[in-house]
């Protein structure tokens, strides 16, 4: 069983997030506003190297970048 999204380097959680976003956007206006609030994510994260904190980055963009990298790595 091969998944198209797996080949694109997307993790299961990311796949779920994208799917749920699509469902939320197709809801009716009043329900959509409520539901979209549940899908918001505004976290920042930092990697640590031997006791020092690295740069603070947005988690959403970092996740996307990592997955894009995984996708290009998978095709080669």
């Amino acid at each position: 069983m091969a998944f198209a999204w797996k080949a694109a380097g997307i993790t299961y959680n990311r796949y779920l997030a994208v799917a749920s976003r699509a469902v939320r956007r197709s809801l009716k206006e009043d329900k959509r506003l409520q539901a979209e609030r549940r899908g918001e994510m505004d976290l920042r994260f930092a990697k640590w190297e031997s006791g020092r904190q690295g740069e603070n980055k947005s988690l959403a963009s970092a996740n996307e970048a990592a997955m894009a990298e995984a996708a290009s790595g998978g095709q080669q």
Binding site: M1, A2, T11, Y12, N13, R14, L16, A17, R37, R38, G39, E40, M41, D42, L43, R44, F45, A46, K47, W48, S50, G51, R52, Q53, N56, L59, A60, A62, N63, A66
Partner: protein, 331 residues
């Protein structure tokens, strides 16, 4: 000066004292105005004393002003803590509902592993990962430091552990003692109720870590009731641990899908832990602010009594002065 005198008179009148006392006070105030420069020198010397002796009149007057200022600032603090308590109370019901909803996610995913009788793999050489779920905001009693203390205790028993920390508070505390073991830190949590998208994003970033961990533990504050919480860990199993579990065959899961399951289970567990930790934090903040308002109320009472006593002492002292002055001029 005159304004102050009349206000004193009004306050004295309100307490039902006899009218001529007020008049006397005004006279006293006017009299003492002439002798100001001499007094001012004493003020500097004696102003640090909380309750001045009745001999040094000017010192009394200075502390009166001081006490008044302190009283005012305590009243302001009480107002602030009361407001914060009200805000936390209104947030609490929502947070608790979110916690109960999220429990369904965590418990469903836990049932799978309970049925499969999954045990954590006992590989000694492999590292473990500990995800600590705190938040960015303080002013909520000791729940963050409770988590940090628990982490340190766990690290003493088992030093071969990496840390991923959610929330600024525990990050600050643990980076001082165990900075070398931190691999990831997340911020921006605690403004609102954590969403499943938050948990998913954290789970993704954790699963992207280069090290292969034997197990991932999630540490969070378990909500026991409105006044007590307990730092608790839940396990999110690695792929091998799930594959090795005795009843695993009953679920008929393909090997390819297994990775998805572990990732999803991690997100579920994280969501549960985050929501429960958030509810604990809000309820702890409510309690902390409740206590702070109570303490402020106690202090206000104490200072009010002190203020009244000092005021009366000043009046008595000045009356004595007038009477002795009058007696001396008669002779």
């Amino acid at each position: 000066m005159r304004v102050f005198a009349t206000s004193m008179a009004v306050s004295a009148g309100r307490k039902g004292e006899v009218g001529w006392v007020d008049l006397l006070i005004i006279i006293v105030m006017m009299l003492s105005r002439t002798a100001r420069p001499a007094f001012r020198a004493c003020v500097v010397v004696a102003s640090s004393r909380p309750v001045a002796s009745p001999v040094a009149n000017a010192a009394n007057y200075a502390t009166l002003r001081e006490i008044e200022g302190r009283l005012k600032s305590i009243r302001n603090i009480e107002k602030i803590t009361k407001t914060m308590k009200i805000v936390a109370s209104t947030k609490l019901t929502r947070a608790q509902r979110a916690m109960n909803d999220s429990r369904a996610y965590g418990e469903t995913s836990k049932t799978v592993f309970d049925e499969a009788e999954t045990k954590p793999t006992e590989a000694e050489d492999k590292k473990q990962l500990l995800v600590v779920c705190s938040s960015d905001k303080g002013l909520c009693g000791g729940i963050h430091s409770g988590l940090s203390r628990r982490v340190r205790a766990m690290l003493n028993e088992q030093p071969n552990v990496d840390l991923a920390i959610v929330g600024e508070k525990c990050k600050g505390q643990l980076s001082r003692s165990n900075g070398r073991q931190i691999v990831l830190s997340f911020a921006g949590l605690g403004k609102d109720i954590p969403t499943f998208a938050d948990a998913q994003a954290i789970a993704d970033q954790v699963s992207l870590l280069p090290t292969d961990y034997s197990s991932i533990k999630v540490l969070y504050n378990k909500f026991i009731n409105a006044t007590s919480y307990e730092p608790t860990t839940v396990e999110a199993f690695s792929e091998e641990a799930v594959a090795e579990s005795p009843n695993f065959a009953a679920f008929e899961i393909d090997d390819e899908v297994l990775k998805n399951l572990t990732e999803y289970a991690l997100a579920n567990t994280l969501y549960w832990a985050l929501a429960e930790g958030h509810a604990c934090e809000i309820s702890a903040r409510r309690n902390a602010m409740d206590n702070a308002s109570k303490n402020a109320g106690d202090m206000i009472n104490k200072f009010q009594i002190l203020f009244n006593r000092t005021r009366q002492a000043v009046i008595t002292g000045e009356l004595v002065e007038i009477i002795t002055g009058a007696a001396a001029s008669e002779q």
